[in-house]
Amino acid sequence: MKGFRYTIVFGALALLVLFLLYPLSLVLDASLRVNGTGTITLANYAQIFASKYYVNSIANSLLAAAFATVGATLIGTPLAFCLARVDVPGKTVLLTLATMPLVLPSFVAAYALVLLFGHAGVVTTGLRSIGIPIGPIYGLTGITIVFLLTLYPYVLMPAIAGFRAIDISIEEAARNLGGSRLHAFRTVLLPVAMPAVLAGALLVFIEALENFGVPVVLAEDRPFLAVDIFKLFAGEADNNPAAAGALSVLLIATTAIVLLVQRRYLNKHRFATDARTAPPPLPLSPGWRVLATGFSWGIVVLSLLPFLAVLFISFLHFRGPVLTWQLGLSNYSMLLEGSFRPLYNTLILATITAIVATLLGAPIGYIVTRHRGVLSTGLDMIGMVPFAVSGTVLAIGLIIAFNSGLLTLTGGWLILVIAYVVRKLPFCIRSSSAIVHQIEPSLEEASINLGMSPLRTFVTLTVPLMASGLIGGMILVWITAASELSSTIVLYTSRWSTMTVRMYHFLEGGEGAGSASAAAAILILFTAAPLLLVHRRLRRQDDTIL
């Protein structure tokens, strides 16, 4: 078992160093040299801070992330309270639906906003035709709205868990000592749930800052950090890898700091509340209950509306970029008449990624949880690094690292799988670790005590006990890999193009609105269907998504 442990720890460390730390160090190195050669200099950074455009780019990204964070907290916290403590009709369905924006591709939601409120959007043209002028949705407004609607579950899920973990007796004690319900909420419930809320809020900030798909659809020509990094590295016009590197380093530094703050905060401010049972619903007057129901359903439906709109529009006929009200499958035939290849590629890559990431993450999660030590703590920390690295930046690092030489990976499918696996690893480790936490160590001791060797105990007892949870996590990895855009767009080749890349190109071309909507609809189907099929199994893992 010791041999097994060291194999896993050193194997995982080697892989993470080779495919994560080494590429990132090359990005850092590129950012410190002019034109990739010469001595180390901060010239690239100086150039960025001297340029109004790039300062704007950084400012816009930070602003959008900040707005999204505040908005998601303001929406997510009361919604969480309603779902945790109010008898809202259809709560089970609502909880399932509320998790969906987390895994549905956010750039599809952004695209839906374009279809509805863009220059030639359904709502825009509709309102204009009856004389109501409507402003553009592009830029900060639209981006913030999409972030808000797709990222609020990051606050919602831990906040629900937080409110549920507060034993009813604590609240009853507050009331027994003479506090009103409102007073008890303000002085006890909210402070106890707050660490969970803020931890989730910081995740919203990180995700929003890193996100590439939403600004690429909605920014148009406005500067946005994630988009500019991509353009500087891969763009044909103003290619400047050094500047891309410098911006990447700034992005990673920001996300890493926020992540560290989040970790420290969680460690310091977690209250042990150990409720044995979830607190009962509040006795509310009918009026308040209707209000809570309307609010809860309203938010959840609103967040899913863009996806429904895309699904619907994909069955309408486009004449060029202009939407008509004729139903039909013309978009799908147009999308697929070229080739089924991207569809297959998406399925193949996502499946390989899900299997590899789970096989890698599960034993790491096990060791990190069961064996406390210097090595496993280090592994735990490095395993979380991908969380602070945006897909685009990781992909740029992989290209610099494996473009030539002994290990040339660019142009193949393997580099895509590597990028996906590295990006999904934190999730796999944490979900596996959460599963292991639920397995009493005494079970494994009992097995050993009855004569099973530790390794056989792991294989015949621990793995089967973890299996159902692991399959749930594997499906989530599959879903998010299938809808991955930010690293795919840097790493793909025409042979290994995916559905997300196809959609991106249709959007970029401007002419392919119909095909783009069909591609978006297929992506929604790929992500929503497995999620709904296994939502029962996933319910237990909601917390570990975070």
């Binding site: 009493e440 005494s442 001791e445 009992a446 005590n449 009855l450 099973m452 007892l461 006990l465």
Partner: protein, 353 residues
């Protein structure tokens, strides 16, 4: 039939010596209990025997076989865990058969052995059930059947009854004791419950901060505690500080708590400080007693059914506990003056530590 021998066993956690140079011999077929307050090292000691806690110094032997160097799964020491540790993914049958499969027993023999073990713990016919369908007491029996079936060299119990309610606890401890005696298995039993320990054990070791304070039969430990800690931990003896007075050739008069207490024999030099240990049941309400008496004022009466416990204040205010039969009539008002008679031979004297 196995004799367990612990030879100068030690284990530290950081700066804490969880188990400090413990030596003991557990005779074959005996039930040996490790008793002590939480944190005294009793569970660590048990886990050392099972192989789940490292032995830093010393050795552990089953007869003439040294086992502390063996991996846990080769020790053949059947352990019953505090939370039962029933595998939730296996049926009752699967749980009980687990150790047999680990030992690669001929599959054809397994069902009969499993059924026999389940019969032993009165769970015959429960084989196909799932753990979540069973009550706490039944899970406990599955856990016991699961270790009995592998015919272990020794049995280890880690606070096995602490998760059961009071009534089931007394019932299960009788069952465990009967089973252990009928099988003649050498058993190490960990508990913090002194009544449980007294009821079930052949021998008891009282542990305190990683060291054995006293080993002996339940009667020895209860009636002749060697240290003040054992006296106080077991049976809640009243510990009264005092100063030795004159010896009259028969008894020593000890000044204590604003009164004088007679103790049998010459226990200390005149003027020496000491502690007197008086068990609650060694005091009885005096009715024109011939012998020495203690004057006290009633503070509180607890009626417990079979017995009643009186809390009374000695002249200087020190409170003592007195156990009397529940059927005895007591003037129940607080502040009432009481007289307790005692036998000076039953008072044990300990030096001031």
């Amino acid at each position: 039939m196995t004799t367990i021998r612990l030879d100068s066993v030690s284990r530290t956690f950081g700066a804490v010596r969880a188990v400090d140079n413990v030596s003991a011999t557990i005779e074959q077929g005996k039930l040996f209990t490790l008793l002590g307050p939480s944190g005294c090292g009793k569970t660590t000691l048990l886990r050392m025997i099972a192989g789940f806690a490292e032995v830093e110094a010393g050795s552990i032997w089953f007869d003439d076989r040294r086992i502390d160097t063996l991996p846990a799964h080769h020790r053949n020491a059947g352990m019953v865990f505090q939370n039962y540790a029933i595998f939730p993914n296996l049926t009752v049958e699967g749980n009980v058969a687990y150790g047999l499969r680990a030992r690669k027993v001929n599959p054809a023999d397994i069902p009969a052995r499993v059924e026999k073990a389940l019969d032993r713990v009165r769970l015959g016919g429960y084989g196909p059930r799932w753990p979540h369908q069973l009550s706490g007491g039944q899970l406990q029996r599955v856990a016991i059947a699961r270790v009995l079936v592998i015919e272990p060299a020794v049995l280890l119990f880690d606070e096995p009854l602490s998760n059961l309610d009071a009534q089931l606890r007394t019932q299960m401890r009788v069952e465990i004791r009967q089973l252990q005696q009928s099988l003649g298995l050498t058993t190490v039993y960990v508990t913090h419950d002194q009544e449980e320990a007294l009821a079930i054990s052949d021998r008891i070791a009282i542990l305190r901060s990683g060291k054995i304070e006293q080993v002996g039969s339940p009667e020895e430990i209860y009636q002749r505690p060697q240290t003040a800690f054992v006296a106080e931990f077991l049976g809640g003896a009243n510990m009264l500080p005092g100063v030795a007075g004159t010896f009259d050739g028969h008894r020593t008069q000890v000044a204590s708590c604003g009164t004088t207490i007679s103790v049998h024999g010459k226990v200390a030099k005149t003027g020496q400080k000491l502690f007197l240990s008086i068990r609650p049941e060694a005091l009885r309400l005096a009715e024109d007693s011939e012998g020495p008496v203690l004057q006290a004022k009633l503070v509180l009466r607890e009626f417990l059914g079979q017995i009643q416990r009186l809390h009374a204040a000695l002249p200087d205010g020190t409170q003592i506990r007195v156990s009397t039969l529940g059927s005895l009539q007591v003037a129940a008002t607080a502040g009432a003056a009481l007289e307790f008679a005692y036998d000076p031979a039953q008072i044990i004297v300990y030096p001031v530590p």
